[in-house]
Symmetry: C2
Subunit: 219 residues, 2 copies
DNA sequence: TCGCAAGGTCTACGTCGTAGGTATACGCTG
DNA sequence: CAGCGTATACCTACGACGTAGACCTTGCGA
């Protein structure tokens, strides 16, 4: 198959952008860098993406495509809502440094729309009217994206050396506080800097959101 | 007082940075631009800020300084928590495009520490143990920052012309969806794009967070 | 066979953050 | 009042970034 000597596949570009962002952060995702990875001129990317923003949007869409919506079931609405939101978080978790890109794409990309619609269904089933469901759903989704974005340790992945060093610095800063003045902060310093377990962190995050929804419904 | 011909006041620099960011967005905050505003060379700023990040940190601290903590009272803990978080949100609301900068500064700047400590106090009073309070507090604060950051209309302020145009575009995109497939989204399109009232938006946000906290405590 | 569009290349512009070295004026010391 | 250290501002320059515009090459459909 004598294809063109150099043929760029947009989805492969997005793939390497994702990998790059995961390992080195979003700032490392640069048109030149991406082009280099695919042995191509930076400008070649413009044949497939309108501009850099368009590429980042594609990256966001890519994350949303990983959502695995839970199968319908006959459990109570809030239980199913919990599963739905967990599925969403699970899709973003592997890519905390990129998760923020989904914010503007949920109501655009198909998987995002699907999730949004089904989430609203559950809220309506729970007793919210349509508009209220829209606002509550919107805020819940935003909260969960932030949950991933601010996952402790999302700052720097590289080698655990520098990462460990960064944590040490933060710990030192909190440790230097006056325990008389900030007794709770200093005594919970370790937890504040790096929660016990990542799984617990996410479990708590989703629980908080769902409990909040249940709470405002009952009010 | 024969002061220096040109004397740069760091706090004034931060002031104009804030103003610039509020009106034109964070991207407009550039060392050259800032220098120009103060009739100075870009490099002069480096005498007062280690680097751009340092300046942005100062901007974040500046926002935190606007927090007006509620006076102690004998109301129930969750009521006082609500007031505390509302005070935090109120401090950030005027500057949605900058609010995100506070994320990394809360446990550094004094007003942030103060708020964090007092928030943890309330949580402990509510029955959480110290570590749990730390995690819950952390996530709540993050959620609220996001609430401000993603305030509808935080994207572009400039003249209402372009802003209106952007909204129109989004509405059109949602309007083009198949109502058969996304009945709830299409029928709540207006709300999804631009909530009814900003005050209600924030009220709901804080309510959701507090209700969530109450909910996980009772579990 | 030929035309032409799709896709890649080259060059260049303006902007950004910032490294390194230099000049100037304030304000303290004697 | 002389002298000097230090704080402050300046200048020049670099490398990276996103991207506009004109050009070349390939291979498919008519």
């Amino acid at each position: 198959m004598p294809t063109l000597t150099k043929r760029l596949d947009p989805t492969q570009v997005v793939d390497s952008a994702l990998e790059l962002a995961d390992t080195e952060g979003l700032d490392a995702v640069t048109l030149r860098r991406l082009a280099q990875l695919h042995e191509v001129t930076p400008m070649a990317l413009y044949r497939h993406f309108a501009d850099k923003n368009d590429l980042l949007n594609a990256l966001g869409d890519r994350l949303l495509a990983d959502i695995e919506l839970p199968a319908p079931s006959d459990q109570p609405w809030d239980r199913r809502l919990h599963q739905m939101l967990t599925a969403f978080v699970d899709a973003l978790r592997p890519h905390p440094r990129v998760a923020g890109l989904t914010l503007t794409r949920i109501l655009v990309a198909e998987p995002g729309l699907e999730m949004a619609e089904r989430t609203m269904e559950l809220l309506v089933e729970g007793g919210f009217d349509t508009d209220y469901a829209a606002e509550v759903g919107r805020q819940s989704i935003c909260s969960l994206i932030t949950l991933v974005t601010t996952e402790p340790g999302a700052g720097e992945n590289p080698e655990p050396a520098a990462r460990e060093q960064g944590l040490r610095l933060k710990r030192a800063a909190l440790g230097a506080l006056d325990p008389k003045r900030y007794p709770l902060i200093t005594s919970a310093a370790d937890t504040l800097i790096c929660p016990t377990s990542t799984d617990q962190y996410y479990a708590l995050g989703v629980d908080l959101v769902v409990a909040g929804i249940r709470g405002v419904r009952d009010a």
